[in-house]
Amino acid sequence: MFRKATILSAAATLAALVQPAAAQEGELTLCWAAWDPANALQELSKDFTEQTGIEMNFEFVPWTNFADRFLNELNSGGQLCDLMIGDSQWLGGSATYGHYVQLNDFFDERGISMDDFLPATVYAYSTWPKGEPQYWALPAMGDALGWVYRRDWFERPELQEAFAAEYGYDLGVPENWNQLMDIGRFFQGREIDGVTVYGMAIYSERGSEGITMGVTSAMYPWGMQYDNPDQPYDMEGYLNSPEAVEALEFYKELYECCTPPGHSDAYMVANLDAYRSGQVAMQMNWFAFFPGILKDDNVGGDVSGFFVNPSQNVEASVLGGQGISVVSYSDNIDQALEYIEWFAQPDVQQQWWELGGYSCHRAVLEDPSFPDSQPFAGDFLVAMSQVQDFWQEPTYAELLQAMQKRVHDYVVADEGTAQEALDQLLEDWTYTFEDDGKL
């Protein structure tokens, strides 16, 4: 008995000695939003822990509190997060105020080339000032705004017939925003299988960034630009151009004609709920949610189809997605950089895509099999080639809040005109840029 215990004890001691340096290597905390891709990353990161022995902790916060929570963390110099997958719009502020570690030297030292990533994602998720080769993040999660529709309803002969009779063309994926509205009107209030359904779920949320993402998904295809490309921050005639006004009026009409009753404060989750419960024929949402929709019991498989944001005057999609950065207040910067190096590897990026994340690595995206790897993969590539983003200025939060107010007041609360809303927004933004010394 004693001999057996001695052997076991010796074996345990030996095992502890020959263990990889797991416990001694420390641990990292990665901060991100609480959503499906975050769970995929958690799964993926097990491989990193296995390779390096560094334990990974995750701090995931719901989208509605995501910016509030983590911008406060960064602004207060908090040490909760070693790695941050922050919104692209945070980049200006985080670079300017020293929240993120600049990665240029590290990339050079470890042979990580930004040429290996899709240029649009490098521009949007990594660089500040915009387009300059100063990198503050590695493109981590490519994303753009897309659309999901009920393919099973669209394919019903009786509905196709009724639609063609009413609108004079075939019911299918809309080619432009006018067709999108036609389809929305067609389904609005229609009874399908004994249930009243509605046209579409679009973004209308007031609290964070919802309605801004929604209206810009129309304003970009109409040709709206934030400012004069030759004279930055000169917004008169750009932000409030006739195209921008028309797009905003169109979005309001879409909200009024084709959304379910009470859809006045809806963002990602509300749209998903409306779609999954069979309430709407279409929804706008981020590509990041599409793998989850495909697996859904009610609307998964062949029930749903996907399409890129429709064009109008130009082709354009709203940019989502994030880069992964190292927080400068972290005590574990070396380990965090090690994680970035691991994550940048093409095989890890491939695995990332397979698990439900959206890789920005060209080895994954330019693989000939990629467009057919998922029903929405081809659309994702198209969307990423035409993305436009909101301001990434250090004062982005103030700019965003002003836009949230002005467009929500107009679209949802029916206050004033589109022209007035954009003129007021221009005043707000001018004040912000003046205060920030940009004007």
């Binding site: 602004n75 105020y97 007031r206 009470g262 859809h263 006045s264 949802v412």
Partner: protein, 316 residues
């Protein structure tokens, strides 16, 4: 001998008053007093007074808490000028005034009526009192969240009940510009009427029975008894309830954020919600410090006037 001397000394000590004994050890009454109240004073200064003064100082600057390297400039009254000249700010104050006034009106009306009924001590009144006070025991954030489900146009019970009586269709309490301000009044009234009711009940139960008996002997009708005995004697309690509710509702945040997020548009954006957005989302720290100072002065001033009025009522 020595023993008796010691005993005499001991008995003399025993007769010395407590205060004198303290002084004998070097601590005066005043010192003891200070010893006890100083920690509280320090805490009060650190937690209340210093932040208040600091807030007022910041309100005269262009400070932004999210821009650590930025030069902080003294800009005089510019924040105040901008605030008081902003139509939006007056709009938020109007929304707040609408919410505070109407919710208190309904809470007083219903709360007093319920208290009056419960004071009759019918069978099972204790049970009903417990049931009625349940809403105020919930968290405001929870109340806001579950009422969003009750107000849901397709599946919420509120619309179902309304449609049972009148054909109102798929209307949205939260999404409609005209209805949303009343939505927050309804939910706040549902939650806090029990509080007003309890205070009124305490007031009603404090009225001695013999006053009513004397009034009856004098031939006063129940209606006259109500207006000349019940109302004046409950009034100080009622005014206290109004004061508490007004202060609470003026700074209302969580319930309304969960319920409407201040929307649609800005129709339910209370001053407190806008203040939070300016301070911690737009990071206009100096500007929001000025806004907070204006709100503080308003509430503090109004509460002071009200308390003076309350004291006069009590003296009557």
């Amino acid at each position: 001998m020595a023993e008796s001397t010691l005993t005499a000394e001991g008995s003399r000590r025993a007769q010395v008053p407590v205060g004198s004994r303290g002084r004998a050890r070097g601590l005066s009454d005043r010192a003891v007093l200070l010893l006890f109240i100083t920690p509280t004073l320090v805490l009060l200064l650190a937690i209340n007074i210093f932040p208040l003064i600091w807030n007022i100082v910041l309100s005269f600057t262009n400070y932004r808490a999210n821009q650590p390297g930025r030069e902080i400039k003294w800009i005089g009254l510019r924040n105040y000028e901008r605030l008081l000249g902003s139509e939006d700010i007056w709009g938020y104050l109007q929304v707040t005034a609408h919410f505070v006034c109407w919710s208190i009106f309904f809470q007083v009306l219903i709360g007093f009526s319920l208290a009056w009924l419960l004071n009759r001590q019918f069978r099972g009144h204790a049970f009903w009192t417990t049931v009625i006070v349940l809403p105020m025991m919930l968290s405001p954030a929870v109340v806001g969240t579950f009422w969003t489900y009750l107000f849901q146009p397709q599946s919420g019970i509120f619309n179902y009940i309304v449609n049972f009586f009148i054909d109102a269709g798929d209307f949205s309490m939260i999404g409609d510009v005209a209805l949303a301000p009343w939505t927050i009044v309804i939910v706040d009234t549902w939650m806090w009427t029990p509080f007003v009711m309890l205070i009124c009940l305490a007031g009603l139960r404090s009225i001695p029975e013999y006053i009513y008996e004397a009034a009856e002997v004098d031939g006063a009708s129940p209606w006259r008894q109500f207006w000349t005995i019940t109302v004046p004697m409950v009034l100080p309690f009622l005014m206290l309830a109004v004061l508490f509710r007004a202060i609470e509702n003026f700074k209302m945040f969580d319930m309304v954020v969960e319920l409407t997020s201040g929307g649609p548009g800005s129709t339910t954006e209370l001053a407190s919600i806008n203040l939070k957005r300016e301070a911690f989302e737009s990071w206009k720290t100096g500007y929001s410090a000025a806004f907070a100072t204006i709100l503080f002065v308003t509430v503090f001033g109004a509460a002071n006037i009200y308390v003076k009025f309350l004291n006069q009522v009590k003296k009557r």
